[in-house]
């Protein structure tokens, strides 16, 4: 078997030595553009120190590599004049040049032929005169480019600028430094090694403000030596190839074609902040070797397919986490309002892979201390007390209403009432959820008028008798628990007059059971739905008054919190979205402000009758999830206006503003919207993503993803009793 390997980095060398060791009779040749002793790059990091797979694959190099390791365990976060340390995150690293020396020597020892300073212009020739061509030529892979019609690569650039430096200043742990100067916020990733690695990252804007696009190497280094003099202690920064880059995210539809296979950065990259690049390249090499163990040289196609099947799910998992991590570092400015302690917790949990409980396992002293800090922060004390419960169990004040903990229970729309009067099952379920120990219990959406009901059996609050049933349930909750009670008021608009949701959503009622419906404009919600009539001036006044009357009744019934629903395609949301608001009066238009006009009028009118000592929250869509609809930028605008107009908290949802939206059901998508809106606008939010454990709630509250969390504990039945 003849194998040509293009690229003499860790991936290419490691694949070569594994295959050669097992098959001494195979001819394996490595071609590398750079000289053998080229030592570009500084330290490389492995996100753990076990490297079990390397030990198994080649004991000798495993020993040499681990002998060279610098191993460290805590992460330090420097921010806002504080240093926060969290242990248990074992990393190991060595100089890239040391790793290459070890692998190169082992290749030579085993008889791999290596050609240095050999530039490959046309990989096809190398594929033709060998049984297998391994493309291990990195980020800007020539092999990938040559076969792009087959591999179908997708290369996108990250937003941030970064540069790698080295320094003799010893860093004993993984160190993140965030520092703001007159040009903006700088992020430093520094870690130990024979020489320390010191990566600088910033937004393009900050980088330009600092004039780095025009500064040369000497000036550039001097700038950071000065800015971080307290961390560098007089040591200099060094640069081998002074350049600022954006991180390229490489993906390929497939990594193999005929007898050509891509490994390492040529196939896939992951942002350097998760420290997985070299590890992935070496694990690729192992899997490729195993593919040949499985199928042998006679079936090269099957061997490389086996490699891809083995690696793809693992690589994609790492790439997903890396994407979250990269986005965090591209948008760190968003978190500058967080206190250093919370800033650090948010940083540690950024990729979605590490939760509150996971941190507790890694370093329980850290989470204990965080609990104490968070309790003090939540309760406004002056000093930490020795005993504190986790973030989920800390109180929170919305407006003037203080809820005893962060868990919110509420139920989905039901349909067993009659003429707006809630059935005993509906109020009993509310009371039951309230007694389960949440900080806040919310009703299902309650209609402010008969026309605004989703179903004939939806509960309402538009006649005096309706309030009595709720009042009893509220009293029951108040008697049995500390939970605060909230009512969600809505008008179903274009989604009204449908059958119960038991057998599907938005199935219109038969004509004889139905009623006329209204919306911002005459937009059909589904192709089967009744077409609503566009609201005229009288309708606008009438519905606003309905909301006001319902708010007064809700106050009488004793609710502490009123949540106004401006989402999910219901009436108020139909004004917000350009997809459902075609009005040409002052309540419609190109700009989000005019589409907000009516919902804000309603909010304002409701506030005028809602007591100041109680809280008002709004449920709002972060995005329509549809081209031509509102996007997250509009979501920021909506949230900002609602907050400025007196909404004490934003409950963040997404989509359903049209029936043909394209929602995402990754269980953390809605949490990310909540986090972005909360930290971008610096307002309190409630998360609504599907979370089922206290760990989820602690992580969300602790990291500042949301202040309250709607949650779905598996042992609580949200169904009708």
């Amino acid at each position: 078997m003849d194998i040509n390997v293009i690229g003499g980095g860790p991936g290419g060398l490691y694949a070569s030595l594994l295959l050669k060791k097992e098959h001494p009779d195979w001819d394996i040749t490595v071609y590398e553009r750079d000289p053998a002793d080229n030592t570009y790059g500084w330290g490389i990091v492995f996100s753990d120190s076990t490297l079990g797979s390397l030990r198994e694959a080649d004991y000798k190099t495993h020993e040499q590599i681990t002998d060279k390791f610098a191993i460290w365990n805590p992460i330090d976060v420097h921010y806002g004049g504080k240093r926060i340390r969290c242990g248990g995150h074992t990393f190991s690293g060595l100089m890239r040049s040391d790793l290459k020396d070890i692998l190169r020597e082992r290749c030579a020892e085993l008889g791999v032929e290596m050609h240095w300073e050999h530039n490959v212009e046309n990989p096809e020739e190398y594929a033709e005169d060998a049984d297998l061509l391994i493309g291990a030529d990195g980020l800007n892979s020539t092999v990938r480019e040559t076969y792009e019609d087959q591999f179908k690569p997708r290369v996108r650039m990250g937003d941030a600028k970064f540069a790698w430096f080295g320094t003799d200043k010893p860093f004993d742990v993984f160190t993140f430094i965030f520092r703001e100067n007159e040009h903006g916020l700088w992020r430093i990733h520094a870690y130990p090694g024979r020489k320390s690695t010191f990566i600088v990252e910033a937004t393009e804007e900050t980088w330009q403000n600092a004039g780095l696009d025009e500064k040369g190497k000497e000036e550039g280094l001097a700038y950071f030596e000065d800015l971080f003099s307290d961390h560098l202690d007089g040591y200099e920064l060094e640069s081998k190839l002074y350049s600022w880059r954006n991180f390229p995210i490489v993906q390929n539809r497939t990594w193999s074609h005929d007898n050509v296979v891509l490994i390492g950065d040529a196939a896939h990259t992951a942002h350097f902040s998760v420290g997985a690049g070299t590890k992935m390249a070496m694990e690729d090499a192992i899997a490729l070797y195993e593919g040949f163990e499985e199928y042998g040289p006679d079936d090269v196609g099957a061997s490389v397919r086996w490699f891809e099947k083995e690696r793809r799910p693992r690589v994609e998992g790492i790439q997903d986490a890396a994407t979250q991590s990269r986005r965090y570092f591209e948008n760190t400015e968003r978190y500058m309002d967080l206190e250093p302690e919370q800033f650090a917790f948010n940083l540690l949990t950024r990729s979605g892979k590490i939760s509150y409980d996971e941190l507790k396992i890694r370093d329980s002293a850290y989470t204990d201390d965080y609990d104490r800090w968070y309790a003090q922060y939540a309760q406004g004390g002056n000093e930490k007390r020795a005993v504190a419960t986790p973030p989920m169990f800390q109180p929170f004040t919305i407006g003037d209403v203080t809820v005893p903990n962060r868990a919110v229970l509420s139920s989905s729309p039901s349909s067993v009432g009659s003429s707006g009067r809630p059935a005993s099952g509906q109020t009993a379920r509310f009371a039951e959820l309230g007694k389960q120990g949440p900080g806040l219990v919310l009703t299902e959406p309650v209609a402010v008028s008969a026309r605004g009901r989703l179903h004939p059996g939806s509960p309402g609050l538009y006649e005096d008798g309706h309030a009595d049933a709720w009042a009893e349930a509220v009293a029951e909750v108040n008697e049995a628990s500390d939970a605060k009670t909230g009512i969600e008021l809505f008008h179903a608009g274009q989604r009204a007059a449908t059958r119960p949701r038991e057998y599907g959503l938005d199935r219109p009622l038969a004509d004889e059971d139905s009623w006329d419906i209204v919306s911002a404009s005459a937009t059909q919600y589904t192709r089967r739905s009744q077409t609503p009539s566009a609201m005229d001036a009288d309708d606008l006044d009438a519905v606003r008054e309905r909301f006001v009357a319902a708010a007064e009744r809700a106050d009488e019934a004793g609710f502490d919190v009123l949540q106004l629903n401006l989402a999910h395609g219901y009436l108020l949301s139909s004004f917000l979205s350009p997809l459902t608001n075609e009005r040409d009066d002052e309540y419609g238009g190109e700009d989000i402000e005019s589409r907000l006009a009516y919902p804000l009028e309603v909010l304002d009118a409701v506030q005028s009758v809602w007591p100041d000592e109680k809280a008002i929250t709004t449920k709002m869509p972060a995005t329509d999830w549809r081209p031509g609809g509102n996007n997250l930028g509009d979501g920021f605008a909506i949230g900002s206006h609602l907050s400025r107009n007196g909404s004490d908290l934003l409950t963040v949802v997404a989509g359903q503003t049209t029936s043909n939206d394209r929602p995402k059901f990754d269980t953390d998508v809605l949490a990310r919207y909540s986090e972005q809106i909360r930290n971008e606008l610096d307002v309190p939010t409630m998360t609504t993503n599907y979370v089922t454990s206290t760990d989820d709630v602690n992580t969300q509250v602790g990291a500042g993803t949301g202040d309250l969390c709607q949650w779905y504990p598996p042992n609580v039945d949200g169904d009708l009793l």
Binding site: K309, S412, R501, Y503, L505, R528, L670
Partner: protein, 277 residues
């Protein structure tokens, strides 16, 4: 699968009902040596009284909606309300060609079809009225965002395509998230499935070959599926437990070798080793 005849089909149905099982499932493939799922279930319905009868899955858009609605309603009537209709897109181009149904537009047509099925079952035009209120229990499969949306909008639950418990858990959770976030009351029914070949190495090899052949169209993924074949009692029990722990309501285990022994071996494992039986 190949080699399943009238006698074997009836025998399996009878024994499953008498044994520890709660449902019978059938596959759908057109361009393959396999029995038609709806007709097979009709035969099973005649042989049994209590056991649930499930299609897992039928490729919906392969069929005309009106005919599918009538067939399903008929099966529901003739089985006295025991039909669970599992539907998904199906990924086989050749099946679509043979059925004279457009492959490229199947996603959009599937969504429309689900809406129409509900309409037909609840309406008065195309009878019979299904025995189950709202129509046969409707499960929807697939693992893309639109699949989960279909579950939340039209389904009674989610039917997973098979794989290790960990993957099942991740995808079932998405179905549950869609259900909750889209505002459907209650919880979706969650079904899963796996493949087994119990006995000696020959049985295991035959099972793997069958899967490689059946899933050949998926390319290298067929190997992943074949690797997941359950070939020992221990693997079967582990698999069932893994699924149960992750909230699976009903798990279908499919034989990959058509012989009576396979049934007996599975029954033995489930009866003796699975405490919940």
């Amino acid at each position: 699968m190949e080699g399943a005849d009238a006698e074997l089909t009836r025998e399996w149905a009878r024994r499953a009902e008498a044994g520890p099982f709660t449902s019978l499932g059938v596959f759908d493939r057109l361009v393959y040596d396999s029995l038609d799922p709806m007709s097979t279930l009709a035969v099973c319905a005649g042989e049994t009284e209590d056991i649930r009868l499930a299609t897992s899955i039928v490729a919906g858009p392969l069929r005309s909606t009106g005919l599918l609605a009538k067939k399903a309603a008929t099966l529901d009537v003739l089985s006295d309300g025991r039909l669970t209709l599992g539907l998904a897109l199906g990924a086989r181009k050749d099946d679509y060609e043979a059925a004279d149904s457009d492959f490229g537009s199947r996603g959009a047509r599937f969504t429309k079809q689900l809406d129409e099925l509900r309409e037909i079952w609840q309406g008065d035009e195309i009878g019979p009225d299904p025995v189950q209120e709202g129509g046969p229990e409707l499960l929807i499969g697939g693992s893309s965002d639109p699949s989960y949306k279909r579950v939340a909008h039209y389904g009674d639950g989610y039917i997973h395509g098979g794989g290790p418990p960990k993957i099942f858990a991740r995808e079932a959770e998405k179905a549950e998230a869609a259900w909750a976030e889209e505002g459907r009351p209650g919880d979706p029914a969650i079904w899963g499935h796996g493949y087994f070949a119990l006995g000696d190495e020959d049985a295991a090899e035959a099972g793997r070959e069958y899967l490689l052949d059946y899933y050949e169209f998926t390319g290298p993924f067929a190997e992943t599926i074949a690797e997941g074949l359950l070939t020992t009692p221990q693997e079967v029990v582990q698999f069932i437990r893994g699924y149960e722990e992750r909230g699976c309501d009903e798990l279908l285990l499919f034989p990959t070798v058509a012989d009576e022994e396979q049934y007996e071996r599975l029954e033995e494992v489930v009866e003796n080793e699975w405490s919940d039986a």
